[in-house]
């Protein structure tokens, strides 16, 4: 490859004096030159800037002329403005696409495809030129930007109204109404509360939501004087959980009751963590278990073991594949979005309730969008103009 790079401009200059000159002459189109009469050459070569990137990339596409002898391989040759040629790649015959990722933004390059036969250049395609550039807005994501902006505006607007003290309603959420009871029960029985924040790290929004709920639960256990155990599967989550629980105990006026060692890291390993938590369950026999966060296959391993020690279990996750197992094995399950509503529900803070109202408005927007899309698609089957509307709506929600 490196040898080719060095040798090739020379080779090209030898066999293609005409082409080199033509390029230098001011971009006159060069006809495809089959040097050996019968070899297949690339035709319809196009070069274009790769869209929606930070530049530096030019896409080349071509077709192979199917008449004639199949070349052994083909090469992509780039000429920079000074006319210096560079073989970017040698590709197997039959390739019809190449991406030049070494272009400099703003420089006009000329490309051609050469066909090799028996180690020699046997044919050359027409040339094509392109300039790489960077874009300021991703054209395939404008629809999403618009919708996301609307949603964000709605949510932030309702948070503001919430702050201003407008009375906001929130419906009953079974699993959350039971939090007090669960902690109370553990207190009566003199057994600990076990809080499992899922197996993902702090960058996961479900873990973040779980940490917020943990703060509320910690305050309750502090008030009731019950032990709270938090085994985690991530170091950062452990750190955050320690902070959050400490703060909860502080707010409840019981900073002395906070035991740092009760919030411990086990292992990053999914099933190693499950084994460890199962062990804690059967040995500590918690009376209440919270499983809130992101869970994968370990969900049922934990929930069934928790069930077997007789704990009251409150689970919640937005992982659609794991919800069925929590529904089957736990007393209460927060389904999907209910997990994210928990902090608002438990704290009744106006700004958080406002955020919930904003989420509802956003869902209403989507419902309207779906209904419109369905109507347009259905009517569009019989009345073409409506099909255009349906296509427009689908384009709007398409993200590249």
């Amino acid at each position: 490859m490196t040898i080719l790079r060095g040798v090739f401009p020379l080779l090209l200059a030898l066999v293609l004096p005409g082409a080199m000159m033509a390029a230098g002459d001011g971009g006159a189109r060069v006809m495809a030159v089959p040097i050996q009469p019968n070899v297949g050459v690339a035709i319809d070569l196009t070069a274009s800037d790769n869209p929606n990137d930070a530049g530096g990339v030019i896409n080349l596409e071509w077709a192979m002329d199917s008449g004639g002898v199949e070349p052994d391989s083909i090469g992509v040759v780039r000429l920079d403005p000074s006319g210096e040629a560079d073989t970017l790649a040698v590709l197997p015959a039959g390739t019809v696409f190449y991406r030049d990722t070494t272009a400099v933004n703003g420089t006009e390059y000329t490309y051609k495809i050469v066909s090799y036969l028996g180690g020699k250049v046997a044919g050359v395609s027409e040339t094509a030129t392109a300039v790489a550039s960077a874009q300021w807005l991703h054209s395939g994501r404008i629809g999403m930007l618009v919708i996301l902006s609307i949603m964000a505006a709605l949510i932030l607007y309702y948070i503001e109204t919430g702050k201003k003290g407008k009375e906001l309603y929130i419906r009953e959420i079974g699993g959350l109404a039971a939090v007090d009871d669960a902690v109370g029960r553990a207190t009566e029985m003199g057994k600990p509360v076990l809080y499992i924040p899922g197996i993902m790290d702090m960058d996961d929004i479900q873990t973040i939501a779980s940490m917020v709920i943990l703060g509320r639960v910690a305050r309750k256990t502090a008030e009731y004087g019950t032990t709270l155990l938090v085994p985690t599967s991530r170091s950062v989550v452990m750190s955050v959980a320690q902070e959050v629980v400490k703060e909860g105990y502080l707010q409840a006026g019981r900073p002395d009751a906070y035991v740092k060692e009760n919030i411990q890291y086990l292992t990053d390993d999914q099933f190693g963590y499950a084994a460890g938590v199962d062990g804690i369950m059967v040995r500590e026999k918690p009376a209440a278990i919270f499983l809130l966060g992101t869970f994968y296959a370990e969900s049922l391993i934990l929930a069934e073991t928790g069930r077997s020690v007789g704990a009251i279990q409150i689970a919640g996750t937005a992982m659609p594949s794991q919800i069925p197992f929590f529904v089957a094995a736990c007393d209460y399950t927060l389904i999907g979005e209910e997990l994210f509503a928990a902090s608002a529900y438990l704290s009744r803070e106006p700004k958080l309730l406002g955020s919930l109202k904003g989420q509802d408005a956003a869902k209403l927007f989507f419902i309207v969008l779906i209904v419109l899309g369905v109507i347009a698609s259905t009517v569009g089957q019989f009345w073409p103009p409506m099909a255009t509307v349906a296509d427009f709506l689908r384009d709007l929600v398409t993200v590249e």
């Binding site: 309603y169 702090m202 960058d203 292992t267 084994a275 062990g279 369905v374 259905t378 709506l393 993200v399």
Partner: protein, 217 residues
Amino acid sequence: MNWEILGIWLGAAVTLCLYSFLYRDNPFYKFVEHLFVGMSAGYWVIYSIYNVLIPNWWENLFPADGGFDAIWLVPGIFAMFMLARMVPKVAGLSRLALGMIVGTGAGLNMVTFFQSNALAQVKGTMISVAAGSVWEVFSSLVLVVGVVSGLVYFFFSKAHTGFVGRTANMGITILMVAFGASFGYTIMARLSLLIGRCTFLIEDWLPTIPAMLGLGG
């Protein structure tokens, strides 16, 4: 010493010890559970060093062709902030690292969830409900009504009474059917895992027992 057979025995031993948990908690399970936690924790530390810290950080900080890329000091400093938690005096610095982790995660999650969990699903639901046979029309209707009523179930700021209540009820109904189906469907994959372990014990481990006895006797 035959390392391969020893490996099979190690694997079989830990497998059987872990399965003993199904009967009840016992010293064998406790032993292997503690071993599992320790070994896997060690595994992930080594994994992080060799698969992230060295290639993604160290080799960027000190590129192979010599030199020093100062910008890669930034993550190093943030990681130090995180580890500062171990020293009570400067533990507060870890908040800076946490801010970065949570911010990056929040921004990234927001766009990816919005793209693949919201928009892609909305798009998939924008279908014609008048195409094909009566059965297909019915199916399409169930799909659309299911998605919409399911979303209504998640309304928090409206009391679930009247029309909203009836729709939300329909939503939770569809959700229950979906959860049941998903549960029933997954059983097969879970059984496959057990079949895999049993096959290991029966076909890989059991045949080595005579050999071990032969060696011993």
